[in-house]
Amino acid sequence: MTLTHPSRPVRPMPKSAFETRLLALAARWETALVVILVVICGLNTAASPYFLDLHNLFDSTQIFSEKGLLVLSMTLIVITGDIDLSVASIIALTGTFVGFLALHGVATPWLVVGGIAVGTACGAFNGGVIVRFQVPAIVVTIGTMSLFRGISYIVLGDQAYTRFPESFAELGQGTLGGYVPWEFLIYLAMAAVFAVFLHRTVFGRDLFAIGNNAQAARYSGIRVQNYRFLVFTLSGAMAGLAAVLFTSRVGAVRPNMAQGWELEVVATAVLGGVAIMGGSGTIPGVVLATFVFGMLSFGLGLINVPGIIMSIVTGTLLIAAIATPIVVRRLRLALERRREGNPRG
């Protein structure tokens, strides 16, 4: 190309590479989350002698492992620029299905496969309606949120399924070496898989492209609708997996299971640094945010704080966490502007 604008040599920034990298690290949202997590753990230790106990700590991971799984797939959906509000209801429907199968003597492996299959089907239904009829995801999933749980209510009413094979209970209640719950290990493994998927594969890059500008992504040959269908189906599969673990851990299925989780899951993703309008976010960020919420509710539980106070605290934390970086950025800009007031100074 003819040089109309000869590219000028760019002046190097007057900072050492190390300093730059350190600053970049400090500016990362994940760093702030680590600090928040450490502070919460510190407060928990001060508040209760039972907190710093290996057994209790591992036990507490069961509070958030199932939600954490949902957060992972929700992260992909929100990055793509959509939202899935039906995940908790998929758990209810899937749990009901698994309970029904168990009641009729289906063996454990098939309970797991069946549960994940039903969840996947629910997710595919969401994705199919969204993509096929071009209805906004928030509308479709608000609809299926009532629909999926409604089916569960029709089947169960005020009854519950409580008969499961013993081997099935091992999934949600068993541990590795008496300490590490299988659930937590499954969660960590899935987090690693999602991290690689989102940050190190072509699919992940394409999701970010879609979330930042779906039109330009489409004009670049990215199959936007296929991806949207895919992430909703994946979200259903993860909800199916979470339902299997939940059912196994609790040993009972009621239609109100996991009620209200969808908002906690979205909140965790946002706390983890996922832009609610899509286009940015990281798996390490949302994993840290999952731990933050988990440790917070574990600590509050240890000092016997009632559930309603707990939700006030988590709500406040969420707003504070989102507002802080914005306020800090404003302050920094104001300082810079003042410094620029003395060009030579």
Binding site: H5, V10, M13, A209, N213, G221, E340
Partner: protein, 511 residues
């Protein structure tokens, strides 16, 4: 209009202003003097630093170095209020208005007038607003809601807002973009009255007819540097273009001598339900095929359909002699056809993503390990190669595309496609909204592409560009191809007649 007394001392004077953003210098020591009763035209390509200079004068940016003088006194302009205090106001290119508020409220927004007791003086402000509008000979009602006004009327309110400040210096940044010819003449009248009142006017425009009609003097920036200034009476259009781009207009269309090869893309009888029908043409190797038509003639629709973005109900497409099924953009790209859309910001680039990620977007899969895992090193290499080949002006490939100028963003879009080694590149209004210099860079680049054996389809509404670059021109009218002309038969009148539907009638009469 000539300036008489007091012209020895400028009202506003910029001296040696410098400003850089990150590693990119936007202004590198520019000077600018505005005298009372004079209109100065500030000229320069997009990215020359004109808007940055305006933002420094109005206090939106602070200069890194240099001095600002108002009536001979050195001042600092910290914010818009400071600028108002010094009598400097600007009418910006894009109007920012409060749509649901009234005209008077919009005019006084930011400097609402108060009466005793600290209450807002709405009566006074309404009266003043009506006065200013009358002064502008505008019939806009000061109580009307903004959202009931036309774009031109909104622009008039923007000018009224500037006038509400009692300014000595009026800056007009591309003021005629939304105005009709009659309204432009009204604006000239307003500017002449300001001159008579002894105001200094800075007029920023790309349109030479306006500059020659209204300006007394010119000042030219190029690449953030001051190039020169002088009296309009002493220069010609050609002189100004040369100053802006550093060379003459005569070189503008570098049509290369390329031997046209065999047919590459053959389209026959293409049609869909509403937008176009009976589209047939053949694109040959090394050819530039121009598409002309009025807005709404269906040119973009045809190109988007070929690229797989719109449905096709009838017709046949053949690529390199083989039938090409109508598929998704991905499949079309794999066939070697790529499309640079007209709407660069929304469909071309992904602004919040890095230059590298944009450049490799259609390629990530081809570069990836096992077709799945991202290959950073290969992507960086591709990024570097096309940054160099297209001379994309940036500090680093990690920079966001949103930080680039429009011309450089266009280079990113083109680079993204070239990286896929296409055989056919469709350019939809490739030079729309970019300045003279970048335009000729795009033209030179098209020439280079066909020399390399690519085939180009160029959709353009600019006839000189189309006639300068094309081997053949196809004219569309209301969704149909109505005329095809070989380069030897290019004639502006014939082409425009065909585009307006006249050519078709004539042909029928001849038949």
């Amino acid at each position: 209009m000539t300036s008489q007394s007091e012209t020895d001392r400028p009202i506003l004077s910029l001296q040696g202003i410098k400003k850089h953003f990150g590693g990119v210098k936007a202004l590198d020591g520019v000077d600018l003097d505005l005298y009372p009763g004079e209109v100065v035209a500030l000229i320069g390509e997009n990215g020359a630093g004109k808007s940055t200079a305006v933002k420094i004068m109005t206090g939106i940016y602070r200069p890194d170095a240099g001095r600002i003088f108002v009536a001979g006194e050195e001042v600092e302009v910290h914010d818009t209020r400071d600028a108002w205090r010094h009598g400097i106001t600007a009418v910006h290119q894009e109007t920012v208005m409060f749509e649901d508020l009234s005209v008077a409220e919009n005019i006084f927004m930011g400097h609402l007038e108060r009466r005793a007791g600290g209450f807002l003086d709405w009566k006074g402000m309404r009266r003043r607003a009506a006065e200013i509008l009358r002064e502008l000979e505008s019939d806009i009602d000061a109580d009307a809601a903004m959202n009931t006004l036309s774009v031109a009327q909104k622009h008039m309110v923007e000018i009224a807002r500037a006038l509400s400040h009692d300014s000595r210096v009026m800056i007009l940044d591309e003021p005629t973009a939304a105005l009709s010819q009659a309204e432009i003449h009204e604006l000239y009248g307003i500017i002449r009255r300001w001159q008579a009142q002894g105001k200094a006017i800075l007029y920023i425009s790309h349109k030479f007819d306006e500059i020659f009609a209204i300006a007394d003097r010119w000042t030219c920036f190029r690449d953030g540097a001051w190039v020169g200034q002088g009296r309009i009476a002493d220069v010609t259009e050609d002189d100004l273009v040369r100053l802006m781009v550093g060379r003459s207009v005569a070189q503008l269309f570098p049509k290369p001598e390329v031997t046209i090869g065999e047919a590459v893309l053959e389209i026959s009888g293409l049609g869909n339900a509403r937008e176009f029908d009976g589209i047939s043409f053949t694109l040959h190797k090394g050819e530039v095929l121009g598409f002309y038509g009025l807005v709404g003639a269906g040119r973009t629709e045809v190109m988007e359909a070929i690229f797989g973005l719109k449905p096709i109900d009838r017709g046949e497409m053949r690529m390199n002699g083989k039938p090409m099924p109508h598929g998704s953009p991905r499949e079309v790209i794999d066939q070697g056809i790529v499309y640079v859309p007209e709407d660069r910001q929304h469909a071309g680039v992904i602004l919040p993503m890095s230059i590298r990620d944009n450049l490799t977007l259609p390629l990530t899969r081809a570069l990836a390990k096992n077709g799945v895992f991202l290959n950073d090193r290969a992507e960086q290499a591709v990024g570097n190669r096309f940054r160099e080949r297209l001379s994309i002006k940036c500090a680093s490939l990690d920079q966001k595309v949103s930080e680039l100028s429009g011309g450089n963003q266009q280079k990113v879009v083109i680079g993204k496609w070239l990286a896929t080694h296409p055989g056919v590149i469709i350019l939809d209004e490739p030079t729309k909204g970019i300045d003279v210099g970048s335009k000729s860079a795009v033209h030179a680049f098209i020439a280079e592409l066909v020399r390399d054996g690519l085939s180009v389809i160029m959709v353009s509404s600019e006839l000189p560009e189309l006639m300068g670059m094309s081997d053949r021109i196809i004219v569309m009218h209301q969704g149909h191809t109505v005329r095809e002309l070989a380069r030897a038969d290019f004639d502006a009148e014939t082409i425009v007649a065909a585009a307006t539907g006249l050519g078709r009638l004539q042909e029928k009469r001849h038949a």
